[in-house]
């Protein structure tokens, strides 16, 4: 029988990684995700793996680059300013097509900002905070159970496509506890890693991990190959959950912690003859545009803990971008149940007045 445990989000990430076969973790402390390190520091060495506190976030991502080059499952985690420092490294990993899992428990920005929850790193994660044309797969879980499942999945997908997958949560998700059930055992698929640099043993040609190609045609063909891969991922890997969307008059679009609050509204509140639904993107890249495109409500209300980032992708996805509205809170303030309900009423009022 599966055992139920009460665990913190950050600890669940660490435990999920271990269950997904990750035995190498490199990180640098930063609130609100330090518990990932603490958990790893205790558990990984017992399993013969390596926990190493790096001298910086930059060192950590480059250690990840090293371990990933040798084909091993590896992870790092940090929070916003630390993730900014990893941008060069992430771009290198994309160029060298190295698989790894990177966790960002987002805090408020810009700058040193604050440690409270935020979704202000959407653009950085989804559009590419590093230089050049590249993508990461970005998962945005909204519960502890999902955090576990997506972390495990992140490792699989990273290996499958030779890509970095990111788990993006916020401080609430990292700090909160819910009950969780782990599977007895995770099925780990062993993807081909004949590209890995583990020594030739004099038995094969040498392997080279690199991201530099001075010949423009060689580099362009890498870029094109990467984009072909990204297209496949866009087709295959998008995920979203729909709640009450059929015939909805208003569809809230929200992810992570905000989607929890939105869900409670969809479940608990009545808005007269107006039906309110929710689309919750689970992958932020690839963005579940296809799901959004299925619906034609009177309005989409995008709610974020930012001043408007995902809303651009919502606009790029839906059939009529003029129907896309936005509500956001920042600084660590979480849009409350009441805040969102108010926004919905505003939409209804306006609709009742103007018919649009």
């Amino acid at each position: 029988m599966k055992e139920k445990l009460l665990m913190k989000g950050n600890e669940v990430i660490a435990e999920a990684a271990i269950r997904a076969g990750c035995r190498y973790y490199f990180g640098y402390p930063i609130t609100p995700q330090t518990e990932i390190s603490h958990y790893m520091a205790k558990k990984i060495p017992e399993l013969g793996g390596v926990f190493l506190q790096a001298e910086s976030e930059i060192a950590a991502i480059n250690m990840v680059y090293g371990t990933a080059s040798t084909g091993k499952r590896v992870m790092t985690s940090s929070s916003s300013p630390g993730i900014s420092l990893k941008q060069e490294g992430l771009s290198y990993m994309a160029g060298a097509e190295l698989p790894a899992v990177v966790v960002n428990i987002v805090r408020c920005g810009p700058g040193l900002g604050g440690i409270l929850p935020s979704q202000g790193d959407y653009f950085q994660s989804v559009k590419g905070g590093g230089h050049g044309d590249y993508k990461m797969i970005v998962y945005a879980p909204f519960s502890i159970q999902e955090l576990y499942e997506l972390t495990v999945k992140a490792f699989d997908v990273a290996d499958k496509y030779r890509i970095v997958s990111m788990i993006m949560g916020d401080g609430i998700l990292g700090q909160m506890m819910e009950s969780i059930e782990f599977k007895e055992e995770e099925k780990i698929i062993n993807y081909d890693k004949s590209w890995a640099t583990t020594g030739t043993e004099m038995k094969r040609e040498r392997n080279i991990i690199t991201s530099i190609h001075l010949d423009p045609n060689v580099l362009e063909s890498l870029n094109n190959r990467l984009f072909k891969k990204y297209k496949i991922i866009e087709e295959e890997e998008y995920m979203a959950e729909e709640y009450n969307c059929d015939n909805a008059d208003i569809i809230i679009v929200a992810y992570g912690t905000v989607a929890r609050i939105a869900e409670s509204i969809v479940k608990e509140e009545e808005f007269g003859k107006f039906k309110v639904g929710l689309i919750r993107p689970i992958t932020l890249w690839p963005f579940p545009s296809k799901i959004l495109k299925k619906y034609n409500p009177k309005a989409f209300l995008t709610v974020e803990m930012s001043l408007g980032q995902m809303v651009e992708d919502v606009k790029l996805s839906v059939n009529d971008r003029d129907k896309v509205l936005f509500y956001g809170r920042t600084g660590g303030n979480i849009p409350t149940h009441k805040d969102i309900v108010n926004e919905i009423y505003k939409i209804i009022e306006k609709y009742n007045k103007t018919g649009t």
Binding site: P32, G171, I172, M176, M177, T257, R260
Partner: protein, 178 residues
């Protein structure tokens, strides 16, 4: 709604606010309910206030962040000020009146004042104050059983504090009976 408990526990850092909340959540879990626990976190906790949002429910939990609560436990004045308005009509406030001197709370809620810190001090360890208040809570709400919460002590308290469990049980009973 007997089946859906939304609780905030709040006070100074160091008063055992967070672990009291964890005990409730853990207890709820072993009674096969849906539970969530969200702490305030970060350096502002040093000397400042700490709180946690706990839900114990028969239903799947939507938002783990509370904007209204069925019960509030408060262990200092700023917390009472901050969270009083969160309490539902006919909701419950349990407060430590050895710390909160003046309070004039809403009339539409049930307020229980216990000098928990003083009682705990008399027991020899102020650290039991939170447990006394917890005792009152489960007594008033039947949120979880006494046995369950005692079981949760073992799980939530660090090993090196397990020798205190008999005392914690005394504190719990003290609260329940108060």
């Amino acid at each position: 709604m007997e089946d859906h408990h939304q609780i905030i526990i709040s006070g100074f850092g160091g008063q055992g606010i967070l672990s009291a909340g964890k005990m409730l959540a853990y207890g709820g879990m072993i009674e096969d309910k849906y539970v969530s626990w969200v702490p305030s976190y970060g350096p502002e906790m040093r000397g400042g206030t700490a709180n946690c949002h706990v839900i114990v429910s028969k239903e799947l939990i939507a938002s783990p962040i509370l904007s209204k609560v069925t019960a509030l436990i408060v262990m200092n004045e700023p917390s009472l000020e901050k969270f009083e308005s969160y309490v539902n009509q006919n909701g419950l406030i349990i407060l430590d009146n050895s710390i909160i001197n003046k309070f004039s709370v809403r009339k539409d809620i049930d307020v229980v004042a216990i000098p928990a810190t003083q009682l705990a001090n008399e027991m020899g360890n102020v650290a039991f104050a939170n447990i006394i208040l917890l005792g009152k809570l489960i007594h008033k709400t039947n949120l979880i059983s006494k046995e369950t919460i005692i079981e949760s002590f073992k799980s939530i308290l660090p090993e090196k504090k397990h020798h205190l469990i008999p005392m914690e049980i005394n504190a719990l009973e003290l609260g329940m009976k108060f």
